[in-house]
Structure formats: C-alpha cells, structure tokens
Symmetry: C2
Subunit: 690 residues, 2 copies
C-alpha cells in the first residue's frame, strides 16, 4: 500500500492513514511517498511511486487538488490496481472540477486502474488491518472482545465516519466500510455487489444520495436479495419529491423518491429515515436474529409500558396475538395480580421477586405463538441488585431457549447492557425504537420469500412499441387491446352520418372525442362531448366537435371523432407507466379523480410485476376500500385490474428505450366478475425516440 | 412525615422512603410507624400513628393491600393532610378492588384528607428533600452541579421512574415529580394545575393514560396555558381509535384519541409519541430557549448531513430560508469551497481549520434571518483535539450571542456533551431528533399567542336545545337556520298536490324526502327521490315515497314529505358535533363522501371555536385543495363554511348536557361569495336527555 502525500504528522490527512495502518496491525508493506523526507512515522519514505520495489495493490492519494492528476497518472504508470482519492475540489465544485475529475477517469480507465473518490474519506477492513482512511472514527476506543459486525457503504464520508463512531457504544462495528464520495469510478452499487458476494458479510448498511446507474444498482441489490443478505438503506433527499416539469400526467405524481421506494420494495431493501435508524437496524442484525414474522409477544413489569408497546406495535404493523389460554392460566398461577393476555405484565412485583421474570419469560417463549418477544424492563438495569437479577434471569432463559428471538428495551449501566447484548438480545433504550426495529426485521424476513421476477416474464413474447404506433388516443387504445388490456368499445368516424350510425350500433349513451395527434388537451379545445343520448345528437355533436377544434387548434390534423360507449357503474382508477431517468420503468396505480389529483394517493413498483404484486400495490393505496365494497358499494373486479397492471408493466419493461410514459385515465373497474375497461389512454415517447 | 409499614431494610418498599429522605437531607421530622420495632434505620419507631407528637403533613402507607383501609382510617383520625398509598390490589384488579378503593375515598373524604394512589410509587421534591417514593430512580448517580429541571406528572409509576432515570444522563432532572397511580383522589389534572401555579416550575412533562374529569383537565391545562408554561404530553392508548358503536355518523369518525388531540391543540399542549420524545422535549426546555418561530438555519461540516437535516426539516414543517446574499458572500470570502445558502456547509475543512466553525457561526447568527440555528457536527466531539476546538468555538459564539437559540447534533464524550449543554445549547445524538424537537419548540412558541376562547363567546346569547326540538330532519334544519347556519330552501307537504305546488314554487329540480321521526335510514325505506324535474313528477314522487315508507316501516309516524331545492355546483362537506364522554363537545369537519367515508380525513376541535380556528381546521384536512380551487375547480366560499362551523360549535358548547351529536351531511359549500347550504341534518340527544 502506498500513501502519496504521506505526512510525518499523524493528525494530518496525509499522516493519519499510516498511523491507522500501523495501529491496526496491517501486515502488508506500507510505502510512504514524500519527496522531501527520508522517513515518515518511522517508515522509510520514497521520493516517488516509481521507487517502490514491486506491485502496489492500493495507493492512497492525499495531495492538494492541483496535484491529484499527476499522482493518478503516476499510479496508472506504475500499474496500481486501485487508487483512493481523498482530495476534494472536483465535480462537487462545478463544471471546472467536473472536467478535472473526468481527466482522472480517463487516465485511470486507460490503465485499467479503479478509483475510489475523489472527495471521500477512504475505506477500512478490520480483518486485514487495511485502514485506508483519514477518519479518526477508526481510532475511537472499542468495547472489548470480538464485535459482531455489519458492512457499511456511504456516499458521504462524514455520515460514514459518524455511523462507524455511533456503532461502537452499541457493542457492534461497521466493518468493512467504504465511502465513495464523488464516485468518479467506484460507486455504491459496486460496493454493495462486492459485499453481497463476500460470505463473511451478513448485512449491508448504505447511505446514498443518488445513483449513477440504476441498472447497476439493481444488479447489486439483486445479488444481495438472491443471497438473502439484508440491506439497510438511508437514502437522502426524501423531501425532494421530484420536478413536475415532465410532460405526462403521472410524471408529476411519481417523484424519483417514489421510484426509489419501488426499487427498494422490489429487492427487499429496508429503507430507514435517519442515521440512528440505520445504526439501530444494523445493530439488531449484528447482535440478534431475523424473526420468522410479525407476531409480537410483549412482556413487561409496567402496565403503562405495555400500553405504549401495544400502541407502537399497532402503528408499526405488528400483530399482538393473545397468549394461549393454558399459558395464561399458568402465569396466573405464578402471580395472580399479573396481566396475562398480551401485553403480559408481571406488575412491579418483578422488582421484589427476581424469579418472576425468568418463570414468566419461560412460559411465554415455550407456549406463546410469537415470532418475537419484546421485554420492556424500564430502568431496572441501572442499579444493583435489580440489574444483576435481570441479567441472571435472561441468561437462564437464553440457555433454555437458545434460538428464541428476544428484543429488550431497558435503561442500564454499560456492563449490564453488554451482558444482555452478549445473549443475542438486541437492546434499545427507547421502547418505540425496539418495536420499530422488530417490525422492520419481520418485514425483511417475510419479504425474502418474494421472488423479484414475476411469473410469465421468462419466455414471454416481447412486444415492442412500433415507430408510428399509439400516437393518437384510438391507436393508443388499440395498442392496449393488443397487449391484453380491455378498452371501451369505440368507432372512429369521419362524418356526422357515420357518427349517428356508430351511436346506434353501440347503443345507449355514447362519448365523443376528437381524434388528433395535435390536440393534447381535448376538453379545453371543445373536442369532447359526453352523454350523447341518441344518433341525432351524435350527428350534431360531430359537427360541434370538429368546428370547435378547428377554431381552437387551426393547424390540427383531425383524423376524425371517436364514438365510444359510456362506461358507468364502476370505480375510476388511473394506471400509469413512468420511466424514471435513473431507475427505469415504474408502474403506477391510483384511484381516479380527487384521490390522485388532490391527495397524490398512488402506489408504485418497478416494472415488470406479476398479478400478485399488482394486487399488493392496488391494496396499498389509502382509498382501496372504494374498490373493496366500502359503505355498501359493490366490490370491484380487482383481479381484472391487477391483470391489466401486470400486462402494462410487462410492456413497459420491454420498451424502456422508447417509452417515456403511459397514462390510462380513467381505467374503470366494474363490479366483481365484470372486468375493467380503459376509457382514455396517452402514450408518450422518450425525446430521443420521437 | 410518617411512614406506615416502615422497614429496617432500606431495599424494601417500606424501607426505601426513609432511606431516600435521609439521603436527600430532608429536614422535617420523620416518624417510622412499626408496632414490632423500637427503631427503624436509626430513627425511633412508633407503635402507631397516634403516638406521633403533633401534626402530620404527609403519611406514606406501605402495607399489604388488606391493611390499607385500617391505615387510611388511622391517618384520617389523626388529621393527616395527605396520604400516599403505594399498595396495589385496588381498582386495577376489578370490581372487588374498586369497592375497597371507594371505601378509602369515603374515609379520607370525610376527614378532608387527600389521597395519592393507591398503586403509585409516590412523589418527590428535591428542593426540600421530600422524597416520598420507593422508586430507586432517586438514588441514581447524578451529574455534578445544579441541574436544570422540568416537573413531571405520571399516571404510571414505572414510566415516571423510567423518565426520572432517563433524564440524568442528559444533564437535567425531573423535579418535582409525582405519580398518581389509580387516582382514587388526586389525579393528573390536580398535579398539572398545582405545578402550573408554582413559579419555580418552567415546564411540565406528563404521562397520562386517561382522565377522570375532562373539565378539570381542561381547567388545569388552561392555567398552564395562561401562564405560558409548556406542557409536554405522552398520552398512551393512541392506537385505540375508539369504538364505532355510537349511533351517529361522526361518532365513528372521532375516536377519543382525536378528542384528546383537539384538547391538546386548544391548550397548546405538545403531544409526543414515546418516552424518549417526552424526555427530549423536556430536556430542550430545561437546557435551551423557546425559539421565536420556525425559520431554521442549518450549519454543518457534512454535505450529507445538510441534506438529511433539510429532509427532516421539510417533514417537520420547518422553513429553511436562504442566508441573505451579503452574508453568503462573507462566508465565501472565508472559505471558498463552502456551501453558503442553507444548509450551510463548511466542508470537512472544519476539522483542519478550527476557526472556521466560530467565524461561520458568527456570520450565520448575526446576519441570518433565523429563529433557530442547528449545528450538525457528526462525531467531532468524540476525540481531542477536535472536540476541544468545537467547545472553544461554541463558547466564543455564545459569548458574542448570549440570546441565540442554537441546537446541536453531535456525538461526543460525556465531558464534551456537558460543556456544550452548559452553554444553553441542547444537544442530540440524532440529527432528526434535533430537528423534530426544534419544530415542536417553534410550534409551542407560536401557539402561546393564540387565545383559547373564541371571539364573541363572552356575552353571547345562549341558545338551548328545546325539549321537543329538532327530532326530524326539517325541524333539525329549522334549528340550524335559527342559529345562523344556512339551509336549503324546502317545504313540508302532506299531499301530492302540495308537492307539485312546492316544486313549482322552488323551481328547477327538487329533492323529496320523507319526514318522520321514526325513519332513520330514509333511502333504504324508499323515502328519498332526487332530481325530481317537474311538478307532475313531484306529485307522483309524493305517492311513491309515502307508499314505500308505509310498507317498509308500517308503524312510522309520517309527518309528510320535504320538497327541497337541489343544490348543485358546490363541494360536499360534513360538519359534525360529537360529545366525547370525558372531554365534552367536539366539532368535526370533513370533506363529504369518500374523503370521510373511506379515508377518515377529518379535523377536530373542542367546542367552541371562533371563525379563525374554524378556518384552520378546514385547512387541516388532506383534501383541502378541493375547496381551494384544485385542478381548475372554482374556489369555494371558505368563510361561509368557517362561519357555520363556529356557530355550530357555539351551540354545541351551550348544550353539552343534552346533545349527543349533530351531523350536517352534506353541507354544500358553493363557489366564493355564494355561501354554503345545509342539505341534511340529524340531531341526536344524550340517552338521559331523551
């Protein structure tokens, strides 16, 4: 390992890595490069990289911005495999910096050398003592003994170092960890993929601001998913709900934040909202076990704690089923004043009778039908003899139930907390945090069983969007019909007489709409008449529509007027496709009208999805009850809706290069067994594909 | 102070209070009562309370359940002012225990003695060393020096003790604190009122599960409000959204949880969701300052931290305005690589150049237009020399800006955290927590300026609900009209001919509805016909309605049929009154149809409210945009709507004893300037008032 810009001062950025490497017992060779010194921190220094006798695996570049290109060029010349660039002042500073950064990439790429950074704080792997960082987080005092660990990838150096520091008091460590900075070359996706393939890594925590390539990120997350390796994700920029500038309707509904949620949903990535949550989830994965599901038993010595835990469980989506009756009786026999259903409350008697905790816990673990048992023991761990009693009780219980998933919330002294953690029982000061983490662990465990690829995807016939296809409403609907999505009956007519005839054929009231690739806002142009009740009215409406559109959009190429059945008696929904700039095609579902327009109540998935996943996303919107027979309404044909969403998503996934968006609005879902119908549709192409 | 059931063992429940009192230097007399001992913990013991020479202010009762009544009787006989009952086994155990508890209340009440408990852990006031508790939380090691303090009231002993313990490591204390247990006599409201009147108490933290008297709780919170004393409230049972069993429509929408929210909103009580949040808010109030508002400046050395802070601020409703241009230039002159808008980022350079922090902070505090400045300094406080530099910088800044509200998020060693706190800068490990607390402090500060009593309330003419009034739809609407709420034009007719005449008079389409106190579900009984287009149709509809209702509800007393104008072109809303069993009349607002029915999207206030507060609650519902001209709709007459809500709330507040609920559904709000109209109304009386 070479350090270019090596400093004799172990507190300087160029001095710290050497100090850290020696501290960590790195056994490989260290070559300080410094033209002005003979030795650096007791190691012989070399004037230049060329003086290094043999190959260099890793070069750390800790020089001023202006000297980085020369250093990288030297590394490339020497055949260095990877260079870590600490220096800032590149793409993050604007166009000039970006140009300089691009030069680094060119030089490295030509030599087959990988770059980490610039503007990063490096990486560290404790296993081999390879502490290639200037972050002082690696020098903080550690709890004794081998620490359980979780890997960490952070785009931000500060958040990375902060997380590394925050892990230690909790009795675990982030290791290996890597920060990617400006990601001139190596990015978060590279690191996640690498760590997912490393058998010694059990879980991966990630801090990410954006991604350079959605496809590579997907591939990386897929590796982790296939290997059932939990990924905990803190994605910054949550409040940036995306620009509303895009042309289509769904574009303004699906900010890139929702596309990221769709991505994370697909690969069972656990998205968290803060550094503390990132650290807490990592801690629980390092110290504890993944529960089998979300059935929670609550055992406490505080009635109030039981209520708070039940409140938190309800918010988090955990189930709190009752203890079986026989077990309830057994607990009552031990202490008659206890509450024994769930939450189970020993009462404060637990502080008088130390045996109560282990006897209750034993019954709950043996006979309760729970995936996780949560103990809330208030501040009992803060003072002897109570704390000793608790630790002893938990030891006994762990010996009898070695595989039980037990979470603990308690205040305690450092030694008590350490003893409890050593039993594989993750410990949280805040009860609500213990519940939230438990719920997230349960969801992680459940969703590893969901396959990311939908049924029918492999071996399907790919249907491509043709060059001239779907440029008008009627041709868009023909396309939908062709891919298996039902559309309203309609006829394109070019005269008032034909309009009357079409209305007669269709029967009942009809809707009439101008057909023209040049009229995007048909209603505003006078191009739509609804509830046309008779053939005569249809003839009159034909003339009215064509007249209005001709005066509103004089140059419009009018193909005719669509005469379509009026679909009534169903619930209006919106199905959409939106191609996210980095993550690719997403499929979007919402209830029509105000639900989407006023509340933005939509669900979103990466395309493609199967019908099962489609049904899950349908059930996810807040207004789902409207489709499910709320307040005496008929239940709607949700299977037909799910089928359409799935087919739409397949088409989107087969045309990511040409499709910008599809809006089917409204897609009317009829009562159960009666199907669903697309009434209007708009297909937009990517700018390059026009 | 007497301790009945005094024990020589300082770890036993009867021994701990004496131990604690002596530890705390209590200077009053302590009388251990124990018939079997001559001395207890070095203090002469007395055989019975009667042997005490002189008056007893406070008696602690620490005896088995079965001996409590005798002890309380003895206290009453001796003229004890207050007895604290530790013992459990009363109302919390069911009817027998409740009966026993009632006996205690009778005995104490007859003697004018107040009771705290039973089933509580007591109370403590550090100022006079009156540590009347068996909780070992009072014995935990405290940080040195006088600790800033906040008062605490907890219904649960365990949560109370836990909070007391959790405060200490944060460098503040809960003091005085009191736990109320079963609240046989003294309850949370008593304690809040008392503490609100104590000038030495600056803020009050409360854990509450339920309240015995809404009126007394309101009175207590009103005292705190009038004295601008922040109340932080952890109300358990949040997930219990109330039973749907009540008769009226709004009853199922407003669980008692929402009534509590309305109560807390009125008295500017800050509701939190966990013990940690209770402790954190108390900590911020103890250590820091109430900011003037919600304009947040963010200063950090981490770009990622800036993004996370901005995300959290957006979620919390804080504003993040830019630094003025001149100040931005000044910062750029200090360090050109900095981000200077807001979030302001010194970059990691802050670890190389210690002066950067104070010079940046000085500019931000002097020239930024912020109510609060939040510093995020990652883990810089964990290691020298960086931690020393930070503390020195912050000292310098505090000296120059003694009144600035500064929040800090940083990891640090205990001594560093203590030093920063001593500067009056509340410190949080988690950035998101710092932001959430800041937002809550800002809201607290802003809302102390809102008067709880609406304009026009004092001096109004009280309008009582008459005994036979409002038992049918039309008479309910007459009542509304009488209290100033506009209703649709309508005529009650008793023949087909009159129906035709009424339809002609009203003009346009009309709605017809059966008028009968015996038909609650008019549509189901065939009692409603809408869109009646002509006088002839009205005559026919009259016969159809009366015939259908007669066969559906044979015994119904049919007063006739209402012929009413069809109101079109507005937005349907629902106005309601719901009398909460403990908190009294609440006024409820929601958008009509699916918003309320499917989404439960309602807002709620305690009655009465003025028009300003009514407008605030209208704006609070998620679908407000529908009234505000969303997607090209006309803007609605929100002032007319607010006026109706306020008038309705006045009426509700004047009739809490007789009213159970009122539903005005729909209340149609017309476009701006055109008013609003009640189309249907139902008034339900309290069971006792029928």
């Amino acid at each position: 390992m070479a350090v270019i810009g090596a400093s004799s001062d172990p507190t300087k950025i160029g001095g710290r890595p050497i100090h850290h490497l020696r501290d960590a017992g790195f056994t490989g060779a260290i070559y300080p490069i410094n033209p002005h010194r003979d030795e650096v921190q007791g190691i012989p220094a070399l004037r230049s990289l060329d003086d290094v006798p043999g190959e260099i695996d890793l070069a750390i570049v800790a020089v001023p911005t202006g000297a980085v290109l020369d250093a990288v060029t030297a590394c490339a010349g020497k055949g260095v495999k990877v260079a870590i660039l600490f220096s800032a002042g590149f793409a993050e500073m604007g166009p000039d910096g970006a140009a300089l950064q691009e030069q680094l990439v060119q030089v490295a790429g030509a030599a087959g050398m990988r770059l980490l950074g610039p503007n990063c704080i490096g990486a560290a792997s404790g296993e081999i003592g390879a502490i290639a960082t200037f972050a002082f987080a690696v020098q903080l005092p550690k709890p004794e003994g081998p620490l359980p660990r979780v890997a960490l990838v952070s785009q931000s150096g500060a958040i990375g170092g902060h997380s590394v520091a925050a892990a230690l008091p909790r009795g675990f460590q982030f290791d290996p960890w890597v920060t990617t900075g400006n990601e001139a070359d190596i990015d978060v996706a590279d690191c996640v993929a690498y760590l997912a393939m490393d058998d010694s890594v059990s879980a991966i925590a990630v801090y990410m601001e954006g991604c350079r390539s959605g496809e590579r990120l997907k591939a990386a997350l897929d590796i982790a998913f296939q290997r059932r390796k939990p990924v905990i994700m803190l994605k910054a920029g949550e409040s940036d709900v995306g620009a509303a500038a895009a042309a289509s309707h769904t574009a303004s509904l699906v900010g890139s934040n929702q596309a990221y949620d769709a991505l994370f949903h697909r690969y069972n990535v656990c998205r968290v909202g803060s550094i503390t949550e990132l650290v807490q989830m990592s801690y629980a994965l390092a110290v504890g076990r993944l529960p089998a599901g979300r059935r929670l038993g609550i055992l406490t010595g505080s009635g109030g704690g039981g209520i708070l835990a039940a409140d938190a469980a309800s918010v988090s989506g955990l189930e709190v089923p009752p203890l079986p009756a026989a077990a309830q009786e057994r607990l009552k026999a031990i202490w008659s004043a206890a509450s024994v259903v769930n939450p189970i409350d020993t009462t404060a008697q637990v502080t008088n009778d130390p045996a109560l905790l282990s006897s209750f816990l034993d019954v709950v673990l043996s006979e309760g039908d729970f995936d996780v048992v949560l103990l809330f023991l208030t501040y009992i761990g803060m003072r002897r003899p109570w704390s000793d009693n608790v630790v002893e009780s938990l030891r006994k219980v762990r010996a009898a139930h070695p595989d039980a998933t037990v979470m603990v919330s308690m205040l305690g002294t450092d030694d008590v907390l350490r003893d409890v953690r050593a039993l594989g029982m993750p410990l949280f000061e805040e009860l609500g945090d213990a519940v939230t983490v438990t719920a997230r662990l349960g969801r992680l465990a459940e969703n590893f069983t969901v396959r990311p690829e939908p049924e029918g995807w492999s071996g399907r016939t790919v249907r491509r969007l043709g060059p001239g296809e779907a440029r008008t409403e009627s041709s868009a609907k023909r396309l939908l019909s062709d891919i298996g999505i039902p559309v309203a009956r309609e006829v394109l007519v070019t005269s008032a007489e034909d309009a009357a005839r079409a209305a007669e054929e269709i029967g009942g009231a009809v809707a009439m709409k101008v057909e023209s690739p040049d009229v995007l806002h048909k209603s505003e142009a006078g191009g739509v008449v609804l509830d046309v009740a008779s053939p005569d009215e249809a003839a009159a409406a034909y003339d009215r529509i064509t007249g209005a559109v001709r005066s509103a959009v004089p140059d419009a190429d009018i193909h005719g007027v669509l005469v379509a059945e009026m679909v009534t008696g169903g619930v209006e929904t919106i199905l959409g496709i939106q191609n996210d700039a980095s993550l690719g095609a997403t499929v979007v579902f919402g209830l029509g009208g105000i639900f989407v327009e006023v509340l933005g109540d939509v669900s979103c998935r990466l395309a493609p999805i199967g019908v099962e996943e489609a049904e899950a996303m349908i059930r996810e919107v807040k207004g789902f009850d409207l489709l499910d027979g709320a307040r005496g309404r008929p239940r709607c044909d949700v299977p037909a809706l799910a089928d359409a969403l799935s087919k739409l998503s397949f088409f989107a996934a087969d045309n990511p290069d040409v499709l910008d968006s599809i809006d089917i609005n409204p897609f009317i879902v009829l009562p159960e067994g009666q199907g669903a119908v697309a009434v209007d549709a708009l297909v937009a192409r990517r700018a390059a594909a026009h």
